[in-house]
Symmetry: C2
Subunit: 237 residues, 2 copies
Amino acid sequence: MRVEIWSDIACPWCYIGKARFEKGLAEFAHGDDIEVVHRSFELDPNRRKGDIAPVIPMLAEKYGRTLEEARAMEANVASNAHAEGLGYLADGRDHGNTFDIHRVLHLAKARGRQSELLDLAYRANFAEERSVFDSEVLVAIAVEAGLAEAEVRTVLADESAYADEVRADEREAAELGANAVPFFVLDRKYGISGGQPAEVFTQALEQAWQERTPVPALKSVQGDAEACGPEGCEVPR
Amino acid sequence: MRVEIWSDIACPWCYIGKARFEKGLAEFAHGDDIEVVHRSFELDPNRRKGDIAPVIPMLAEKYGRTLEEARAMEANVASNAHAEGLGYLADGRDHGNTFDIHRVLHLAKARGRQSELLDLAYRANFAEERSVFDSEVLVAIAVEAGLAEAEVRTVLADESAYADEVRADEREAAELGANAVPFFVLDRKYGISGGQPAEVFTQALEQAWQERTPVPALKSVQGDAEACGPEGCEVPR
């Protein structure tokens, strides 16, 4: 059974929600039969690529609050992160366009390193306040996740690399009715919005598992052709 | 849309069928939207691991034919391979247990190198008559496909590594009614048995594409929780 998770690296509830989902998954009896796929969603897709700014003043301006109030909002998120055992520094991180990060996450997906890179990018952004919007930081994290440095640099240098994959994920999110993240889709049947408590994920996994799509009866195309079976390779009669 | 292909490296019609499928896929208008996944199937699962033997005498014994007749069978397969532009030496390849090859193919899948390794293993087995049942040959091919040598050796040394994944593929083949390979499953709806002509694949892809599963209406679980959208990160009302 497949679980798809739409998220953005700039989204603190995605960071917290991934940890809560993984706790919920650990309590689920058939966790080994679950394939998790992470999908792209940009919170601020129209932001100019080089426009990187500290998050606290950005939040204050966005919500029309004082800097002190924006700090209190971040402190609240930080306490939720800490409750999940996650590092979170409530001041100092940057905000910016995440398209390049999503492109590199798609490279990581192709190389079987997607979850690793997502964890390291979240940690850098929220717990270490390294600017993941800086290409050199992103390269370093990607290499730490197991990717080949030259391949990461090639993808970053070519703005079209994995761009269609990012946009396809975003289009699919819209088609599925997701307008905020994290957004979890179980077996293309159940949608879960937001960083729910771990037990909500466990229960939803159990429910989706009970109702999971059975092995279908396939419609046959064109009769048989040359094939090999345990009895040998023969042209079918 | 996803296409799953069950095959065994010891199966000449899988080698030929992969080339025919890829020709058919190249003629299909939405090829970029097709995800191809290769799955494991063993033709001779009960063969002892070290029991490696030249294929011509094995075929003669299996079918109760003379060596000359077995050579003619292989020559017929070779001419089919040549017609697809594939190398095929009609004499000299080995037969053996393919479980380890399937385990390494699953490692390659996890690293995004599955199709590359499958092509190189087929080429080694059928066109170059390098014995892919020899671990050192398998390691060399896997490295050529882009895998890290140490990781390949670790998988080969641990007989449980990716063993469950191989068996899960084989169980699924049985559940889908496949008892010979190559076996192609389109969008979990159409089954195609054997190395059909390329145009059969193109037509089946077009048919499955017309009928592909639309984006489902998701059932919502538990209402919303903390999430971030374009308007910001807020606790839902």
